[in-house]
Point group: D2
Chain length 339, copies 4
């Protein structure tokens, strides 16, 4: 921790800060500059002394406090080089470029089964499908709930594909665990800490979507919550952030791919459907995600987007999905990935 | 709903859109321009036909779909002129400028009681204090939980001030209702829909903080969730949004005050502590909130910010709070508000 | 300057960084922590060694470089306590709350003179009016140019009010100086450095609007450009920043008022017309600006907004402006400001 | 243009709006809904009637005005399918994936020539190098000016590569045209309209970088300014936008690639150096740009980033650039592009 004192801070004020830092267990190294005094504090784990920064910043004679260490530990690259999350034998985070595909929302047996079979035949590895849906509008469709979970289970039996579905309420975690192979935490719940703790206790892999307002650091701190709950099977998913640009639904931040690679050992997946909000942009951004080094993508597919109950505008048709998979193969090969 | 067709859309494509709109129950008014055909659809409640917009936008021959009506109904100004939320006889949303004050987090009996008595004597109306705390870092303090709730109850008995505290987990709503006079939904949970539904069933007023990424429209849709649950006692709270400016913790969006006034009948409160993140900015922004027409403020106060477990940098000292209240009085009078 | 080395940096790498810092003229204070080495560099002016930070950050063995000092000097609070800019005897930055008012764009003699007389009678101090207009669309009106400047001069003769108008092109600075009392740099030109240098050489006060993407720091660095050109008569103007919220034209960042007060000695003005984009929000935000401690406001007024060539939606009518001025007086008194 | 009246608008108010629309030359189609009246106005070019929208929005009885057409014409996809910009025989916007590379700033003969030869040998097509540099800080290096232009000319003679360099001041356009093959408009000047008009009159291709705050629509309107000046040789360059994420210098918005493809016929280039601000992220994002369908990239390269006068942290070494070019070739082939 580096504490920069205000210019003109008195000797007493410098000593006050030093005393506080010592109380937190730090060793003190004061540096007396011409304009300012700077105090370096080392020798104690910053992570467990989070309040130190805020407390010192509340002192009028302190100008600025900078942390030297990252605010997370176990999900950090320094803890481990690379994590592979195994989903029913399917390894995520290795040389496989994993494709998760399926409808935004499970609407009916016919819709789900038709989509599941088509994406399976086209080469998708994991089936996505919403049972409990977060909707900005209270008047929108909120999913079929348990019925959808049962349909997903049947689709899995039919195709052999593992299933990913969102869980929104800590009270549903147990139920969803019975049916799903991966629990998805949606963007709106990235900082729903009780839910993070609950999935931290689950024995299923968790895919944590980035909050549309969240920095990489906050996202990794949210992952650390899950880790500390006891669950190390965490997959990150970049799905676009909120910016001033409204032509696209979100701004897909592919910088996140090399950034997360550098900061963490966890696998990183990209969701070009929410990241663009436009079906016609999904193929280009899927290819970009692969070329940027992502470990996979999650894509919304619907047999008839123009009758979808949700997210029709960003869903690929079955044909468009097949065509996309076809163009991905040579690209994956060049990138040294299996598809 | 206004549907703009792509230039060059065929007669069949126009008829396809018209047929779909009729199925949703709309009356159709096509307008044939030189470059484009525009179809106006009226006569049916858009709100219950949310999927229509998305479905039509997924058609390649549709360029753009604009909703004519707002995506919320009961919290809208058109439903009611003004709502007054009564908290133990204290009316929020009338001529009173309500001041909620207290520590970010309840840390100890001494800290809470000292703060409660001081803010009460200085003229605050409602006591705030965190029992369950959302923290970006899993290594930070998360609140004393039930112990804090009990201390808050004692502080209420001591001062007569109603108590507001945050609820984060749908499973805690019942517990928190036993102790609190107002349930607070924090910024990270503005789109935690299961929690919104749960407080919608509670018989206590709810203060809904704006998500740091949320538009006014999304914020009012979140309020509509609570309303539809059966709870009409809703207070909105602007607490700053996330922008590229990092010198302040958030960007306090005071435009929200006249905007919400125009769009909704619900009372609107401002939180200058989170909205700035700096204690030295809180007095200026509290005065600005009052002058902008807000119904009140929520302010973090701590007997010794430099030893606070959370948010020390943005907490006022007891003296600073007293001084602020002193300067607010003549301002309130000029603005026609009671303090 | 504080340099945090990567964990595991070798002794040679630490020495390399130390050698570079010494070459830049810094004294070196290395601190050896458990996980990392931190090097504090003091004793030389960071400001003149801007490249040091970037160069060090390009080294793979350096994790992070933090500057201790602000990247501006003369516009900083540390250089001077308070600057008063005198405009034809009118002091900006003192106890006067200065009101600049007038049409967005000078459209005609009748429109300008009518507005000028009305705002003058209502108590405005300075007349605004665009002669050269930046327009997002190349198809919009771009102002009457020199004709407008001449009309402004006549309006000044008629009312005695000093005149502020925008200059966009370094080649126009001399011309605009002949007519205007304050040169306005618009939001789009905040980082148009050749223009900043040119108005730095002018003998007229300059009002520098904040770039809609600019941090406080970048804004003050832009002001420093003007100062270094030789012109110390600088007024800052907060006019709203670009965020994801689109209901308002911009997000008016009133946090800028206490922030600039703390960081700089320059006067700060608020533009609620562009900051909201909606005439009905202007009175509330003008009052908020005054209560936040701003030194004045700039307001768009038009005799007939519904026939304005630009910015009609955010212009007050003459009646609305008069009414606003009436409500400002008691507020100014309470805030200890003259109006 | 679609005008939505306020609920409860009177018959007179509806007629007022209709009369105004007719005056602008529109044909009127009123639609009377249950809650609201909607007026569709067609048959006249919206583009030339920009003020209509703003004027109507200033009427209290109008709720919302939506434009049906895009606010630009000649740079639109509807005007032309695809534009190929020829730079000394090098076609940009076709099957070539053009690589522009070179130092941020021309610092010396040795630095420039060494870089030019290395990037040329590695396969770059165009040499970049700053002569006039925009710098946030007035204390930073601002470029060698004319001396740099002369060195660039020599480097071109030496390698045969065309040269791109930035022009910041309308007064420099003529000078820069003498030396450069492509004029670059930097991000800060995207809405510097006098500069846009000036390069619109030049006979050299112009590369227009996206303003870090600009929407696609505003960017294309800026391009339309250049077009209307008479210069149709325009290249767009996505270089990252400003968001709340600060780990990267900007957020590279690769959605812009499919978006611009859909909206415009102009070539689109990506700048991963500014788009990330970190040399280690440049290779991943260069590959992503190619896979997303961009027409090329612009990359900062320096023989010794740790001694660069600007942007060292984001500059590739000569070796890293060579290695990147090597990995691009098979990717380009798969994407059907020449390198």
């Amino acid at each position: 921790m580096i504490v920069v004192m205000q210019p003109g801070a008195s000797q007493e004020q410098v000593q006050d800060v030093e005393a506080r830092l010592r109380q937190f267990g730090f060793d003190i190294h004061p540096i007396y500059g011409v304009e300012r005094t700077v105090i370096a504090a080392v020798g104690a784990p910053e992570l467990d002394r989070n309040e130190a920064k805020e407390q010192l910043e509340s002192l009028p004679w302190v100008e600025q406090v900078t942390l030297v260490l990252k605010p997370y530990k176990f999900v950090s690259k320094k803890f481990r080089e690379r994590t592979m999350v195994a989903v029913n034998g399917l390894p995520i985070g290795g040389d496989l470029f994993v494709v998760m595909a399926g409808p935004c929302t499970v609407e009916s047996e016919e819709q789900l089964f038709k989509t599941a079979q088509a994406v399976h035949q086209a080469g998708a590895h994991i089936l996505r499908g919403g049972a409990f849906k977060p909707s900005t509008s209270p008047y929108s469709f909120h999913g079929l709930g348990r019925t959808a979970l049962e349909l997903l289970q049947q689709a899995r039996a039919m195709t052999g594909m593992p299933v990913i579905t969102e869980v929104m309420d800590p009270r549903q975690v147990e139920l969803v665990c019975e049916y799903a192979d991966i629990l998805q935490i949606g963007t709106r719940n990235m900082q729903n800490y009780d839910l993070l703790r609950e999935v931290g206790r689950a024995r299923k892999p968790v895919m944590l979507k980035r909050g549309m307002w969240a920095t990489y650091e906050e996202w990794l701190q949210a992952a650390e919550y899950i880790w500390l709950g006891g669950n190390e099977q965490i997959i990150l998913c970049e799905r676009g952030i909120r910016t001033y640009e409204t032509y696209t639904r979100n701004t897909l931040d592919l910088n996140a791919v090399p950034a997360i690679r550098e900061l963490s050992h966890l696998p990183i997946i990209v969701d070009p459907s929410h990241g663009t909000g436009r079906a016609s942009f999904v193929p280009a951004m899927t290819r970009a995600a692969l070329a940027a080094g992502a470990d996979g993508v999650m894509i919304e597919v619907h047999p008839n987007p123009a009758s979808a109950l949700k997210d029709g505008a960003q869903s690929l048709t079955l044909d468009a999905f097949r065509e996309l998979m076809r163009t991905l193969r040579p690209l994956a090969e060049v990138m040294g990935r299996r598809l």
